[in-house]
Assembly symmetry: C2
Homo-oligomer: 423 residues x 2
C-alpha cells in the first residue's frame, strides 16, 4: 500500500455508500416546516452576527469578511445527523461536503466551542432524535484510519527549523512559527537547566528535531526513542547532515524498553498516546533510568477535568489518544518518589501554533490535493481549526511538568533563569 | 487563663511524672553492654564526622564548630523511648531535656532527615522494643496543646514588615527576612496580576500583613477572613495605622462563610488546616464567589506523596494540620471547573525562611524565656530547626498554585512579567 493515499481517513461522501441513498434522495425535496424549525433552533445557539445557518434550497453565498459565516446543510440527512450528535458527526459531514462552510471556518469553530448556551427545547428534540437513530449515529464508526501520512505531508505546514509537531512557545507574540518552535525548545532546555556532557533520554522523538537541538545548543548526549521506522530513518539522516550524529542516537523502540542511566528524561507530546493505565509504569521507568540526582520534563495536551476526546477526532485523527488531567498525571510522579517542581499551562500558545499550521496548510493546498482527496483536505482543515479553538476556549490545556527525584536540591531556587534573554 | 503561659505545650520532664520514676532511677545506673550496643547501632545511621552519640555516664562536651555535634541521652529510658519511635518521641525527649544537644541542632536535624540508611539489625531490635513498650510509647499522647501563643511571641522572630508566618521568597539569595517577605507578597500579586480597583477575598489572613500590602501596593479592595479574634483586632488596628482601612476589611469568620463576589481569591498558608475532606467544599466556595473571569492563588505546605505529619509536630505544634499532595489538591480545582495555570514548588525558600526565624528566635531567647519555660524554649527551637531541614531534604514541599475559571483568557500568556524588576 502506498504511503500517501487518496483517502487515508476513510471518510466518504453520501453518494458513495448505498445505505445513504435514502437521505441523499431526501436532499432533493425542499425543506419543510420541521426542517426550518430545527435549523432555527440550531441557529439560536450561535451569535447571529457571526454565524448563519442555511439549508439546501438557499442560494450559496460566498463568504465576505463583513458578513456572517454561512454553515449550509446540503441535504436533510446531514441536518438530522448533526443534530443527533454534533460533536461526533460534524467532522464527517463537513469532510464529506454534506455540510459546507462559506467564510472562515475558524469563526464556526469559535462559536461551536464557546460555552454552550442551554436550549432545553432543542435538547429534548435531540434526545428524541438520538433515540430514534442509533444505527444512523453508529453507522460510520468503522475506523479506516491511517496515522502515518508521510513526512512530505507534515513538511508542508510544520516549521522548517525542527519539524516540531507539538505546541510552540511565543515568548513574543509577533514570533514566526520557526522562532516560536525554537523558543519552545529553549524554554524546555532552560527549565531543565541542561549542562554540557549530560545524558538525556527522550521518549517519543518525532522527526528528531528536539534531540538534535539539545545536542547542538546545549552540548548534551541524547538517546531518543521512537516506534516509527520512518521517523527514525529521517532523524538519523538529519542528525548526520547537522553533524550531530556523534551526540545523538536514535533508537527504534518503545519507551517501555528504555535502558541505561540518564541525568534527564524529556518527553514532548508523547503522553497523549500512553494511556492513563500506563502512567505508573512510565513513572517506574523514569525512576529506574534516572541518576540519583536526575530530573525531567513531560509536555502534554491535557484537560481541566476528565472527559473523552471529541469522538470525531478520536475516530479519524488520533485513535487511542487521551489528554489527561493533572490529577491523572500525578500517577506518574507520586508513586515513584518524584517531586513536581513546576507546572506551566501554555494552552494559548497551542492555539497560536495551530493558527500558524492552518495558515501554511491553506497556502499549500495544491500540494495537499496532489496527495489526498477533498474529504481529507476538509477533515484536516477542520482538525487544525477546531483544535486551535479548543485551546482558546479551554476545552484543551497544554501542561509542561518539570520534576526531579524527591529531595534533590539541584533544582533551580527561582525560575528567573528561564526568563533571561537568550544570547 | 493568661494568654502567655509558662508551659503551653504541656511537655514535662521525667521527674515531674510519677510513672517516670522507674526510668529516672534507671538513669543513675551506669550504661550496660546492651545500652552501648543500641547506641552504637543508632550512631551507625549517621555521619560520624558530624554527629556523635553519648550516654549519661560520659562527660558533657561543649559544642565546637570543628567537632561533631554530640547528642547525649541523659537516662536509659530516653534511649529506649527514642529507639522505639524516633520520629514521635525525639521532640518530647529533647524538650524535656532528657536528650541534650551540644553543638548545632541544625546538624542533628540535617542528619536525622537525610535519606535513612537501612539497618536491618536495628530495625529488628526496634520492632521488638516497640512490641514490648506500647504503653511507654503512647503515654505522652495526651494533648495539652495551646495554639494561640500571643502576638508578642511571634513578633520576636517574624519579619517586622508584615508579620508573615508563611514561606518567604528569596528572589536574591542575600535578601533579609523583611526583603524576602516583601518579595513573596509581590511574587503572589504579580502571578495574580492584580489591577487597581479589583476586589480580592483572602482566606486566612493571619495578622493582616498581606491584605494591607495588597491594598497599599496594588490598589485593590480586600476582604480578609480569619477566625482568630485576636489577630482580627490586631489587623484592624494595623490597617488603621497604615491608612488602609478604607480599602481593607477584616471579617472575623470562617472561610466557609465567605459571601460576596470577587475578582481574586487568595489564600496563603491556610490550606494546611482545612483538611482534605473539605477541599471540594473549598473549591465550591471559590466557584461561588469568583466573578466569571475570576482567578486565584493557593499557597500551602505540601508533600510529594501521602504521609501523615510528624507525630510530635502533630501533637505539640500543629494539631489537625496536614500537608497535601498535588493530587489531593486537584480536588479543589477539577470538580469545580477551575483551571490550573501555574504550580511553583519553592520548598528551599521555606528552608531559608525557617533559618531566619530560628536566628531571630535565638537572638531573643531572653524574651522567650520571660514568657515560657525551658521545655517550650527547646520544643520551639526543635520545631524551627526540624522544619527547615524537612524542606531542605524534600520531606516537605511548598506549592503555589495559580488558577482561573476554565476557559478564561485573561491569564498571562507567559510568566515573564513575574520576573521583571520591581520598580
Amino acid at each position: 500500500m502506498s504511503r500517501i493515499q487518496a483517502n487515508p481517513l476513510g471518510v466518504t461522501g453520501d453518494q458513495d455508500t448505498s445505505e445513504r441513498s435514502t437521505s441523499a434522495r431526501n436532499a432533493s425535496s425542499p425543506p419543510g416546516r420541521v426542517d426550518r424549525w430545527l435549523a432555527s433552533q440550531l441557529a439560536g445557539r450561535f451569535d447571529a452576527s457571526r454565524l448563519h445557518i442555511a439549508l439546501w434550497d438557499s442560494p450559496v453565498r460566498e463568504g465576505r469578511a463583513d458578513m456572517p459565516v454561512t454553515v449550509r446543510f446540503e441535504d436533510r440527512g446531514a441536518l438530522y445527523k448533526l443534530l443527533a450528535n454534533p460533536a461526533a458527526n460534524f467532522g464527517d459531514l463537513y469532510s464529506a461536503g454534506r455540510i459546507t462552510v462559506h467564510g472562515d471556518l475558524m469563526v464556526v469553530m469559535d462559536e461551536a466551542l464557546k460555552e454552550p448556551r442551554t436550549n432545553p427545547r432543542l435538547a429534548a428534540v435531540l434526545a428524541h432524535l438520538r433515540a430514534q437513530t442509533p444505527t444512523l449515529a453508529d453507522s460510520r464508526d468503522n475506523i479506516h484510519h491511517h496515522y502515518d501520512l508521510g513526512n512530505e505531508f507534515y513538511k508542508l505546514w510544520l516549521d522548517s527549523e525542527a519539524l516540531q509537531y507539538t505546541c510552540a512557545y511565543y515568548a513574543d507574540e509577533a514570533m514566526s512559527l520557526e522562532q516560536a518552535q525554537v523558543a519552545k525548545m529553549h524554554h524546555v532546555c532552560r527549565k531543565l537547566r541542561l549542562q554540557p556532557g549530560e545524558r538525556v533520554v527522550e521518549a517519543g522523538g518525532g522527526w528528531g528535531g528536539f534531540a538534535i537541538f539539545m545536542a547542538r545548543e546545549y552540548g548534551v548526549r541524547v538517546r531518543s526513542f521512537n516506534i516509527s521506522k520512518e521517523q527514525i530513518a529521517w532523524s538519523r539522516e538529519w542528525s548526520r547532515q547537522q553533524g550531530q550524529d556523534s551526540l545523538v542516537e536514535f533508537v527504534e523502540d518503545d519507551f517501555r524498553n528504555i535502558s541505561g542511566t540518564y541525568d534527564v528524561f524529556a518527553s514532548i507530546g508523547m503522553l497523549e498516546h500512553v494511556g492513563v493505565g500506563n502512567y505508573r509504569k512510565l513513572g517506574n521507568l523514569i525512576n529506574r533510568v534516572l541518576t540519583p540526582e536526575g530530573r525531567g520534563l513531560v509536555h502534554t495536551i491535557g484537560r481541566d477535568r476528565r472527559q473523552p476526546l471529541n469522538p470525531w477526532i478520536a475516530r479519524r485523527i488520533f485513535p487511542g489518544a487521551y489528554p489527561p488531567t493533572l490529577r491523572e498525571m500525578t500517577e506518574i510522579f507520586e508513586p515513584n518518589d518524584l517531586s513536581v517542581l513546576d507546572v506551566e499551562n501554555i494552552r494559548l500558545h497551542y492555539a497560536r501554533t495551530l493558527e500558524h499550521w492552518l495558515e501554511r496548510y491553506e497556502e499549500n493546498l495544491d500540494a495537499v490535493r496532489s496527495m489526498f482527496d477533498e474529504n481529507f483536505v476538509r477533515a484536516w482543515r477542520l482538525y487544525l481549526a477546531g483544535s486551535s479553538k479548543a485551546f482558546v476556549h479551554g476545552t484543551l490545556q497544554l501542561f509542561q511538568v518539570l520534576f526531579s527525584r524527591s529531595g534533590i536540591n539541584r533544582i533551580p531556587r527561582t525560575r528567573e533563569h528561564v526568563y533571561l534573554p537568550v544570547d
